[in-house]
Symmetry: D3
Amino acid sequence: MIAALEARYDPALAEPWDAVGLVCGDPAEQVRSVLFAVDPTSAVVDEAIAAGADLLVTHHPLLLTPVHGVPADDPKGRVVHRLVRAGIGLFVAHTNADRAAGHGVSDALAAAVGLVDAVPLEPAAAPGAGLGRVGVLREGISLGQFAEQVAMALPTTPGGVRVAGDPERLVRTVAVCGGSGGSLLAAAAAAGADVLLTSDVKHHPAVDAAEVPGPALCDVAHYASEWPWLPVAADLLHRDLGGQVQVTVSGRRTDPWTFRVDGRLRR
Amino acid sequence: MIAALEARYDPALAEPWDAVGLVCGDPAEQVRSVLFAVDPTSAVVDEAIAAGADLLVTHHPLLLTPVHGVPADDPKGRVVHRLVRAGIGLFVAHTNADRAAGHGVSDALAAAVGLVDAVPLEPAAAPGAGLGRVGVLREGISLGQFAEQVAMALPTTPGGVRVAGDPERLVRTVAVCGGSGGSLLAAAAAAGADVLLTSDVKHHPAVDAAEVPGPALCDVAHYASEWPWLPVAADLLHRDLGGQVQVTVSGRRTDPWTFRVDGRLRR
Amino acid sequence: MIAALEARYDPALAEPWDAVGLVCGDPAEQVRSVLFAVDPTSAVVDEAIAAGADLLVTHHPLLLTPVHGVPADDPKGRVVHRLVRAGIGLFVAHTNADRAAGHGVSDALAAAVGLVDAVPLEPAAAPGAGLGRVGVLREGISLGQFAEQVAMALPTTPGGVRVAGDPERLVRTVAVCGGSGGSLLAAAAAAGADVLLTSDVKHHPAVDAAEVPGPALCDVAHYASEWPWLPVAADLLHRDLGGQVQVTVSGRRTDPWTFRVDGRLRR
Amino acid sequence: MIAALEARYDPALAEPWDAVGLVCGDPAEQVRSVLFAVDPTSAVVDEAIAAGADLLVTHHPLLLTPVHGVPADDPKGRVVHRLVRAGIGLFVAHTNADRAAGHGVSDALAAAVGLVDAVPLEPAAAPGAGLGRVGVLREGISLGQFAEQVAMALPTTPGGVRVAGDPERLVRTVAVCGGSGGSLLAAAAAAGADVLLTSDVKHHPAVDAAEVPGPALCDVAHYASEWPWLPVAADLLHRDLGGQVQVTVSGRRTDPWTFRVDGRLRR
Amino acid sequence: MIAALEARYDPALAEPWDAVGLVCGDPAEQVRSVLFAVDPTSAVVDEAIAAGADLLVTHHPLLLTPVHGVPADDPKGRVVHRLVRAGIGLFVAHTNADRAAGHGVSDALAAAVGLVDAVPLEPAAAPGAGLGRVGVLREGISLGQFAEQVAMALPTTPGGVRVAGDPERLVRTVAVCGGSGGSLLAAAAAAGADVLLTSDVKHHPAVDAAEVPGPALCDVAHYASEWPWLPVAADLLHRDLGGQVQVTVSGRRTDPWTFRVDGRLRR
Amino acid sequence: MIAALEARYDPALAEPWDAVGLVCGDPAEQVRSVLFAVDPTSAVVDEAIAAGADLLVTHHPLLLTPVHGVPADDPKGRVVHRLVRAGIGLFVAHTNADRAAGHGVSDALAAAVGLVDAVPLEPAAAPGAGLGRVGVLREGISLGQFAEQVAMALPTTPGGVRVAGDPERLVRTVAVCGGSGGSLLAAAAAAGADVLLTSDVKHHPAVDAAEVPGPALCDVAHYASEWPWLPVAADLLHRDLGGQVQVTVSGRRTDPWTFRVDGRLRR
């Protein structure tokens, strides 16, 4: 099981600071049912227990900051206690899943928004691997239409799809990066992208970007940008193990925002 | 002029990494007209030139990363060239304005959303100075009502007001921090806040916050959270100089986002 | 329970790099039986499970190097899994127990080898707290006799009691430090000690020590030097909790050495 | 213009800490007249303005320490203001000019003092490039004669030519380094130099050098050691641009020392 | 002389932090008699002076921590004064002797305990060079018998031979490292060693080792583990110099421990 | 002897990176004759041996960069060997002598050039101690006259006295710093100095200084600036020891420059 996951999402592709692999659970135990989710939150653990899963695979690490203990009165330690007592393992594929070739997080995002011929924005050594993807739409559309398409393709979240750019701008070449990919803007510009679709873009880089020619920015919920990877990874594991294991994609939206209110005057 | 500004926004209150004070222009020259803006963008420079301003005061630094030159083919160098040629100075009050007592960025935000008895969340040595503010609403309201009130009080932006929390939660004690204030969450919790209003909150800290009891989160545009300071600082300077200097608040919205599209509410 | 332990062994006394406190378990759960040991080895966990303990208190940390996960195929992760499944908490008092006043690790060692009027060698701010202890024997004896006395007072281990010094040297003032205390030699010399009793002393500092006047060295097993603290801490907790909790000292020798062979020629 | 300068003085040859290239001015503007100087002092700026130059090329950076602003009440900011207002660009070729092959700062110095077959002392990857030069005089002369020759060949400065070595020593192989090149002494010794000619040599390295066999030291004004590069670079640019641009070498001596007084007793 | 030593023990093999080579003495002076010892203690200096040696070769550095002076009231400065006044040089071969191929410190230890076909545990670039050695015994024996054999083969010291492991365990493949080699345990495990013989192993790594399958540990005096190198290096130098120089191995045991006392076997 | 020197030149006043105190020699030996010099060069050692001195006191350290050995084929090791064999100690008072109150290096320089009421430029905690001195001339003179006076007061060296400033500038308040004191320019300006007299001033700080109002610069040989301290310290030691010890100031000029050649005043 672990071997199958690591064959697709090689830990060697992860950043040095990352925390991937098995967080708890025993690799020697039999696994019949796997649940995939973006974040290992307590609600996702509830779901895993209710579903009788043996293994939870998440994109985000539980213990990114390393710990000296996992006491049950700490939220992350509580997750460990509940999983260990329920006999459920937790496996993380994070920046290795971001970089993996063919079935990575940005591959899934690129496919979800309709890109073809997508290649890594910041290539790694292995062919097809690397951060972000850049590809083309089958036909050019306006930035406004592109944003509509993104909103249709990804899970709906309270924050919606924010865009920095002229809605009439023609969009053909598109760069995407699941998660926080604002730092790939220069690479997107170098690749001739008309827009960079990513998440968690803050004020200062977006203001700086607007001061120079270059790609428009399209910002969605971090969760929404990574969600498309879940069914891709789940199906892949199911096939790699010859259909012997049951896989499920979590139904919990782990985007933390619960609602939005707009001002009266849209300018 | 510089002396009047620094008397209110003491450079000694700025962070060590910050870049406040006079960026260009000659303190020996006469100033009759001052324009206030959040960001020193090229559009704001257009406005300053068109308005015949002698001094531009912005909250955000032009040269936060220090430079070895200001050539005109670089966007920031171009701003310097245009200002120097037009005879307009640029003065920055950033983290010193954030921390200043009584007329600081978070004071203005706290007043805008109706807080009373606001005190610093992370106090500095000088009385009343420090990062963020915590105060109380005149009466308790629901989190949903609070978000509506915030949306009414601040400039409207495409991103609107995002909230993480139960809309029915009762809100009385409110923490605010203009700009990127997510790191003040622990201080807000310690101060007993029901909600923290700030901007640029990313996925991971918001997910972690949702896993423990504590304040709800209310996230607005960085620009919107700092805008209320502009008329406060402008009026203060006008009064401090005995009405001798004309002050104007910029009409340009420097929030970089231009539009938003929402999903169809699939779930 | 945790409060009672931390009242005696204040975590604030621990080194910044140390990893003390609750490693696993839930502070909200009831504790009736506590086992004390020097090291959280798998044999000690066997004993805790067999004895039906609810809490294991050890001197050495399980996770001194912080971790990104506690998978069951790692020896330390396996300890966590076994404890969590058995419902046993693990609490560590390490350098805070070394420094604690009156009932600390070096206090217990000093008492075991017959010192009186012992005070800290390297005092901390709190009265009576600090690293190491220096005190006096009731009457002066030879270094050889002192070593015999140490061998009698501490648990027997294969390594025995090694001494660097003249067996006829008169010993009256004695410095002790439970655990690896070779770095306290200069403090012991400054305190006028005739001998420093500690453990894990390596070749180079011992050779350097022999080149200058100063204390003799007496080196015992690390485990042996810290063992005397176990009954002290156990009794203290029992009394502090009004006798409501059952306390036991582990019977497992966690000194890693299993046997010793000597050469033919004793010189 | 910038392209022509960077073709000869490749910025990639500069040290990582250096600050070369365009400091102010717009590369899009037409340049008819260029002034070359060692330092961008206010007197040199006076000269550039008086001469109607469009571009000032200096060897030393204006903003070696990067800045957060260029206010006019700071001497370096004042230079920027005066140049921007006068429409004069400032271009710096510093350690890239030191290392450049064939027409670099040390090439010019080597030629000025009569060396032939000069090659880099500390070679860079590109052929002929590197720090310092070592070559031979057409015939061997005494160290005293060499110093006379240096004094004749370089601009006269109050400090003159200081020598550490026996005036009768025979000199044939000569190492030179424009600017502060004392750290190249070991390389000069390894290259078999009889003397190292450079500037800004301090007491301690000179005393250490006198304690071992090796090259004599010949120390001139930093300005004087770099001046010979100015006409070389000016002519080169003139030729590279097909004679379309007027080039001038500054007449201002930017050596900071204004006079010298000697003691009575020459020993 | 120095050249002969450095031909066998290339200083380039030493660690960057090490302090090998000539500590005092003049390489231009004639050497007729060389004394070899593990440590440059004052007793060894007494012996060198009494024996009329011209050069002392030690394995351990005198000045591992670099110094600003060698005053005679400091023990190490005193050694320098005594050697300089007696006209005796001091030469150190430390981590270069550890790593040297064929005649290194661990080669000598491997041979002393009866290993054949020994190769480096942590190979360096040069063939046969590297840290530690792993080889095989001519026939498998029990761990208890192996410890007996070690005790017979090495100088007897008060600490004896400490073993962590089952005395009945079969031992065939053996890893050795002269000096403090506990950090080579993982390499020894990877090489399939049944036991690692080294010195200065502390409590924590030995406890950790006991929690996983892997080599047993056999810990001897640091001095004893390095002593076998002395006659090897002495003979080698004698032969390399065509028998022209007299070589002697020091008779002083520089193991700092003087005696041992055992407990009464209470458990 | 050492105690008398350290009473005047407290090692606690030295910089953390400095290397003061006894470099070689035995504090237990009797001293009858002491030689004072600026640098411990081989020529100064010749003089000490020839003069039969027992102790050499220098201002500059022999081993500022700490060493792992003092072999005789290294120039500094050779100095150690020669001193140890001749039975001469070496004592260094460097930055502690710079900072010492009343009889320090800059005190001696201030007195030599005629300053009165001199106080530290950069005060240390102890009264009268600190780096540099600032005082006044008994009457104002021109900068040219001041330079003449400096040239008369200090040992003559080939480099003479270089000045950056207008020879007619009136000089009354004078800052001085023995050795390399260019970094004290801002302190000299803050103290209202008309000129800073020091040594080893390089091109860049001198050019920067000329661009702003502030003190003129007067640069002499490093050796010349520190020489005046030698007779002061020698007399002081003689008196402190009740005239029991013979003191001598070295006659060797350790300024490394041997001659100077001037240009023909071409401009």
